[in-house]
Amino acid sequence: MNFSTLTSQFGALTFDGLVLGAIYALVALGYTLVYGVLRLINFAHSEIFMLGTFGALLSAHAIGLNAESAPRSGLALIGTFLLVTIVAMAISGLAAVLLERIAYRGLRRRGAGRLTVLISAIGASLFLQEAVALWRGRNYETFPRFLEKEVWFTLFGADIRSDKVLILVSAALMMIALERFVSVTRLGRGIRAVAQNQDTSVLMGVNIDRVVTLTFLIGGLMAGFAGSLNQVYFEQTRFSIGIVLGVKAFTAAVLGGIGNLRGALLGGLVLGVVESYGAAIFGGSWKDVVAFVILVLVLMFRPSGLLGETLQKARA
């Protein structure tokens, strides 16, 4: 136990925790949406994220970026970031939709039990991991740096660095957009209707398959976005990169209240910050222990998570 780092580096730990938490939150949205609509824990979602990181990596290679290339600036920087991110989102979104078609839809139509679908999810997860391992090898691949990691200023001891600001700001914009989409648009209303009651929404003329596809697509797009941000921040990927992050994002979703969009955001940020403090007090190898102890404690007193609300009850 060592509180001196926590006190002397409080600002830095909080800021770094929020940045990591923003990535957790984006991935957590995918778990929470699918759970809200289908009551299914999509364990292959971490692999959708992993495919997004590869989408970012391969598109960066495709436009000629490599380990030696110099960081970009101005319009070139924005263009590069947009391209890499859109490719990552497209690949993750497509993969999520295909995943639903192949691994879940058949089971769902036959009314298979939850456990069956869960096993199918785990199978899909392993399949995707090993397929990527065979394709790209098992070693880390390095993502080229196109954004100079420049410290702009220091605030309460925290280095306000370009890549961290990019992650926080863009993740926040993305989540606001999603929240608006679900609560305002017609398609969003469809998602909420199915989450509330599948049978009734079918009677009301909602095309359930389309809603489910849409849900997976949105979850995949968010995971792809997170994958791209993760590459900008950590600059490394390989087949197994989704495992730990997936567990963390799932934890964030449960912590905030699974099935609740704002819960995923809050859960992600809280988890990121708690981990950061925990690692500073007990040492980095205790980070996960601290995070999961907090989760257990929260669930003991609030079994439905911090916000508790589910997607179905979300106000429109």
């Binding site: 730990l13 950590f234 690692a279």
Partner: protein, 380 residues
């Protein structure tokens, strides 16, 4: 001698035929091989796949090269090469070791590659009387277990750690040091030796989680301690990531690590943050000698890639076994006795083992990185 040898062999062959017809008719007369064997085998034991597969592959290919070169020359006893892929996992090691000792034609093991799996597998090799020379497992405790079959072709982490600390004090001369590890058997052991040897110079001592992509809280800890040197005990992928995140966070301290980091993967992960980094290793740079350069060329020709960390040590260990076989030893017991008592002039050093299986003269080298390349010097 020749005549008597032949007659013994033919008597044996006749005997074997009479006993069960195991020796094929027409096989040329050979030295007395274990029953049912046409050739002897040497085996590699360690990770070929999995997270640390790179490290194991270097070792396995070094051993394979030695066996292949032996096969090119005319010899009385043919030797083939087998591998036991443990994935570096101590949980898989005992089962594999069991299957290894059941193979009667297997007379020597190059490995186990890592310390964790050695602890699990070596008692089984001891029971089977199967001689082992590890070219890479550096945990000091391994030679203290009373295993008669254990030999180690390089210096231990106790030596590497204390020499690393010596280098820090004598060359880097910092006022404060941070010592970090990955909480593994190897990383923590090595980092602890370094921290103990440095004593009061250490201002930060902590472990990180190697599975996490993010080391920011550990970096905050290092920053609040204000160290001029950061020592990391662990493996290459995390070492590279840590070096990079330190540099991005504005930490200018010299980065230093141990042999688990001496892999091209360190530069792949760390990029320009590896400039100025120092990595210690019990592995000798071999490109200064003629035999060393010949080894490098032969390795490149056979596998199409450059040799890696501990490839030369594995080559030496295998050649020691082959020397035993060449001198007419064909049983596990006689081969173990040979490598335990005799010596072998290899390309990295002269292998001569003490009673507990430690090699004499385990020198430690410092590899300093610049522009993705490293240059080695002996730590005196």
């Amino acid at each position: 001698m020749k005549v008597s040898f032949r007659s013994t062999a033919s008597v044996l062959a006749t005997l074997a035929l009479a006993l069960g017809g195991l020796v094929a008719v027409g096989t040329p007369a050979q030295a007395a091989l274990p029953k049912g064997c046409k050739t002897l085998s040497l085996g590699f034991f360690g990770a070929l796949t999995g997270d640390a597969g790179n490290l194991g592959k270097n070792i396995s290919q070094g051993a394979e090269l030695a066996v292949a070169q032996y096969g090119l020359k005319a010899s009385k006893v043919k030797v083939d090469f087998v591998s036991f892929d443990s994935q570096g996992d101590p949980a898989q090691a005992p089962g594999l070791a069991q299957s290894a000792i059941k193979n009667k034609c297997l007379v020597g093991i190059i490995g186990p590659a890592f310390s964790g799996e050695s602890m699990a597998a070596n008692p089984i090799f001891q029971r089977g009387g199967l001689s082992i020379i590890t070219p890479s497992a550096t945990n000091p405790a391994l030679s203290q277990q009373g295993w008669k079959i254990f030999h180690r072709a390089l210096g231990t982490d106790a030596i590497q750690g204390s020499m690393g600390a010596k280098y820090i004090k004598a060359v880097l001369k910092p006022s404060k040091v941070a010592v970090i590890d990955d909480a593994s058997e190897y990383g923590k052991g090595l980092a602890t030796v370094v921290a103990t040897s440095l004593g009061s110079l250490v201002v930060t001592r902590t472990s990180l989680d190697p599975k996490s992509p993010d080391f920011s809280s550990t970096i905050s800890q290092i920053k609040s301690g204000g160290a001029d040197v950061v020592y990391y005990g662990g493996y290459y992928a995390e070492a590279g990531r840590l070096a990079k995140q330190l540099k991005d966070a504005g930490v200018t301290a010299t980065f230093m690590s141990g042999d688990g980091t001496l892999d091209p993967g360190f530069v792949t992960a760390g990029g320009s943050a590896t400039d100025g980094a120092v990595v210690t290793c019990a592995c000798a740079p071999i490109d200064t000698t003629k035999v060393g350069r010949a080894f490098k060329a032969a390795y490149k020709a056979r596998f199409g890639v450059k040799d890696g960390t501990y490839s030369p040590e594995a080559f030496d260990a295998t050649n020691f076994f082959l020397a035993a076989i060449k001198s007419g030893k064909t049983t596990r017991a006689s081969i173990n006795a040979y490598v335990s008592t005799k010596s072998w002039v290899g390309i990295t050093k002269t292998l001569k083992f003490s009673k507990i299986g430690e090699v004499s003269g385990g020198a430690i080298f410092a590899y300093v990185y610049k522009g993705g390349q490293n240059t080695a010097s002996l730590i005196k």
